[in-house]
């Protein structure tokens, strides 16, 4: 039985002088497999854009509805911690980018080093986040039954000028700070969850990189994980100004 439409006149298989062991049977060339992988990863990142997109829309809506509450609640977040964390995450992304380069130029030692640095900075980020969350817990700013709005209705006084450090909110508006903190925890929590998943994957990739799997010409996992890691960076790049920097010039 004839199983083909038109037989190919010459098979091109011989043209590949060395094909990677990771080349899967249904791809004809490494190039094709690699581009398919990158494309698939980007499609996955589209789903991430839409996933966070829903949250960003919720933020946009409530920030416009309850602007005073969002301003007051946002000023509870620590700018130094947020800025340092942004720098940490950018550094982590930077080392990830260098890791991709190291894999491409087949430097195994450098690749492992850069992956470890990426992991280290990722963990540092989560560490700082832990202290930020802890402070919210102590101040009863976690949404739920124990949420406390007193600080927004009666802001503490500035010790030198004896004026409130923040515009006092009406109790009704002060309640809306809970919406801000709900979004704050969901957005940063989802971001942190993506970081944790990323760090787990990093551990696995580092172990494999240490065995030399990615420095023999097969770099797709490093490259595609890099895309994921940079995407998580981008989410934070938007979260930082939107959550921490709403209005930092009180009294004007």
């Amino acid at each position: 039985m004839d199983n083909t439409i038109v037989a190919t006149h010459d098979t091109h298989a011989e043209e590949h002088h060395h094909s990677l062991p990771q080349l899967r049977h249904h791809f004809e060339t490494e190039q094709q497999q690699r581009e398919a992988g990158t494309f698939g990863m980007w499609l996955f990142l589209l789903t991430e854009i839409m996933f966070f997109g829903g949250l960003f829309f919720a933020y946009l809506l409530y920030r416009n509805w309850y602007n005073p509450a969002f301003v007051a609640a946002s000023n509870q977040l620590s700018i130094p911690m947020g800025t340092v964390n942004t720098a940490i995450l950018i550094s982590s992304g930077f080392f990830m980018a260098l890791g991709v380069w190291a894999a491409e130029v087949r430097k195994q030692g450098l690749l492992v080093l850069f992956l470890l640095l990426t992991t280290l900075f990722g963990c540092l980020f989560l560490g700082v986040k832990y202290f930020e969350y802890k402070e919210k817990w102590e101040k009863h700013h976690i949404p739920g039954a124990n949420f406390d709005i007193s600080e927004f209705v009666n802001p503490p006084l500035n010790p030198t000028t004896h004026k409130p450090i923040e515009e006092p909110l009406s109790p009704d508006m002060a309640k809306k700070t809970q919406v801000f903190f709900s979004l704050y925890f969901v957005m940063t929590g989802m971001h942190a969850l993506h970081m944790i998943i990323g760090i787990v994957l990093l551990g696995w990739l580092t172990w494999r990189a240490n065995r030399g799997e990615f420095t023999e010409g097969y770099v797709a996992p490093i490259e595609n994980f890099g895309l994921y890691w940079h995407f998580v960076d981008i989410v934070w790049i938007f979260l930082f100004p939107l959550l921490y920097l709403i209005n930092r010039h009180p009294g004007t």
Partner: protein, 557 residues
């Protein structure tokens, strides 16, 4: 085979014919070889078994609903139980049957073959997608065992977050996981279509089945994550009491509706577009003509994918959205009818002057065209603002979406299943009894849902287990129809299984169809093709096929 005979079926001589010695089914043995397979064809079969199981469960719920509605009094089940029945019917049928129905079974099986590839781009992710479907399905089953969920499949807030004490989180988690399963299927199809087309398989030589799946996959990838975040927020609101949708804390319940329907309207097209693809193949094959206006049909699939994202608010007209915005969405809803109409007209023109034969797939396909048109046109009623206020939340809307989903998608699914059954199993289904089942389903379907249009127009609200006595006659008709419909769906389940052993040997190309999948053995080899095919003919080129057959006869004979 002459085109003038009443059938185009061309089977090999049954006395000598055998199934191919080597094929994907017997390539490896043992249960593990199936559970750990990376072969898209085997995964398609796994999906087929899974969704058939869940279709049975969803069907049982539907039967109980209709049984309760036989009498006006609430006598079979209590109101709470009834709420759980229709909720689980919706969740199971939508997320576990309709969304994966054609793309994950037929699409999985056929798309790589149709474009001349050996497999989908990411076989392991394909397998993962099936496992996610099974896990998501298990969560849904767990919900049933634990005591059910009664929010309606829409998880409407604040009902789902504050007023119910059923297993919303379990069910929501199931839907979340099923969403990922659907995303991975869609992602795989998109990459495969872009990257793995065989030499010569240009975009406009692809079968329309592939185009339809491509468009549906785009919607899966872009829409599903928005559902995921909406469901996640509902779950967090229930467990951690955050305040994103809670009006008591300043949240807006309508925001949930916006996010939910941003997915769930496109989901309607995710469900129906693959069905369109099946119909294009079947109509062309059984009228022996190229699909009329191939390019228009191909682009109308893409147009539906684009417009589908712009109309979701028509599910929310009576929920207190802005009138101005409702006007915009109402007009856009009219727009999305255009590409669907293009398809219907083009199929009709394909039929015109074609050499039509009435095998079972064609009968289902013709049923599809009629029923989907009714479903689509009643959608126009619901999309226009004034009518919607009267008809929404009544049985009119129930009848409308069942005409689209059951009359449309399920008929298309059965058309496709019969059409490609010989390719998947190597054996024919019994023709006479399957024709009967197509007729029975068609009659049963109309008897079930036509009365519901009238009931809805008269004002019978949906989601209640009791109703005024004057509605009983129509409800009895509907329940009687549901029984007939149940028989119509049970018959294929029985004779298709029967045909696995006793069906006639189908040969490579029983329908004399032009698709690439019909030029290889049935059931196919694990690698699909012996040699990479090179495509040098357009889709649906019956002259090319006749020429090819002629050559084979002269060279072999």
């Amino acid at each position: 085979m002459s085109a003038t005979s009443s059938t185009i079926v061309n089977l090999p001589d049954q006395r000598t014919a055998t199934l191919p010695k080597k094929n994907y089914i017997n390539a490896e043995d043992g249960i593990l070889s199936w559970l750990l397979t990376a072969d898209h064809k085997r995964i398609g079969i796994l999906y087929l078994i899974t969704i058939t199981f869940f279709f049975l469960i969803g069907g049982i719920f539907a039967g109980l609903i209709r049984l309760e509605l036989l009498t006006p009094q609430p006598d079979l089940v209590a109101s709470d139980t009834y709420n759980k029945l229709f909720t689980l019917h919706g969740i199971v049928m939508i997320f576990l049957f309709l969304v994966p129905s054609v793309p994950a079974t037929l699409g999985n099986f056929l798309i790589p073959i149709m474009i001349g590839a050996k497999d989908l781009a990411f076989p392991k992710i394909n397998l993962l997608s099936w496992y996610l479907a099974v896990i998501g399905g298990s969560f849904t089953l767990a919900t049933m065992v634990l005591g059910g969920v009664d929010t309606g499949w829409t998880f409407t807030t604040p009902l789902s977050t504050h007023y119910l004490n059923t297993h919303v989180v379990t069910a929501g988690l199931g839907v979340f996981i099923l969403g990922f399963s659907s995303i991975f299927t869609g992602l795989n199809i998109i990459v495969t279509v872009h990257r793995l087309r065989a030499p010569g398989m240009t975009w406009f030589r692809m079968p329309l089945f592939v185009w339809a799946h491509y468009a549906a996959s785009i919607m899966m990838v872009l829409g599903t994550p928005v559902l995921a975040i909406a469901i996640t927020l509902v779950a967090l609101e229930r467990t951690l009491h955050i305040g994103v949708f809670d009006p008591a804390l300043g949240g807006d319940p309508l925001l949930f509706q916006h996010l939910f329907w941003f997915y769930s309207h496109p989901a309607v097209y995710i469900m129906i577009l693959p069905g369109f693809g099946v119909i294009s193949e079947v109509i062309s094959t059984f009228s022996r003509k190229r699909v009329f206006g191939y390019t228009a049909v191909a682009f109308s699939s893409v147009a539906i994918a684009v417009f589908g994202f712009l109309v979701w608010e028509h599910h929310m007209f009576i929920m207190g959205v802005s009138n101005y915005s409702a006007l915009v969405f109402s007009l856009l809803t009219m727009l999305v009818a255009v590409p669907s109409a293009i398809k219907i007209f083009n199929w009709s023109f394909t039929l015109q002057k074609g050499s039509i034969t009435f095998e079972t797939p064609m009968m289902y396909a013709l049923a599809f065209i009629g029923l989907f048109t009714i479903g689509g046109l009643t959608g126009i009623f619901l999309g226009s603002l004034g009518m919607d206020v009267h008809l929404t939340e009544t049985y009119f809307i129930v009848a409308h979406f069942h005409y689209v989903m059951v009359g449309g998608m399920l008929m298309a699914y059965l058309a496709g299943l019969h059409f490609w059954w010989p390719k998947m199993t190597g054996r024919m289904y019994p023709e006479a009894v399957s024709k009967l089942s197509a007729v029975v389903s068609f009659i049963g379907f109309n008897l079930t849902f036509m009365p519901q249009f009238i009931l809805g127009y008269l004002g019978m609200p949906r989601r209640y287990h009791a109703y005024p006595a004057e509605f009983q006659v129509l409800n009895v008709l509907s329940t009687a129809g549901a029984t007939v419909l149940g028989v119509g769906f049970l018959m294929p389940a029985i004779y298709l299984v029967w045909s696995l052993k006793y069906g006639k040997i189908a040969g490579n190309n029983p329908w004399q169809a032009t698709g690439l999948e019909w030029q290889i053995q049935s059931p196919p080899l694990t690698e699909n093709f012996v040699e990479s095919p090179v495509i040098d003919y357009e889709a649906y080129d019956y002259e090319w096929l006749a020429h090819k057959t002629e050559q084979e006869v002269t060279t072999v004979g």
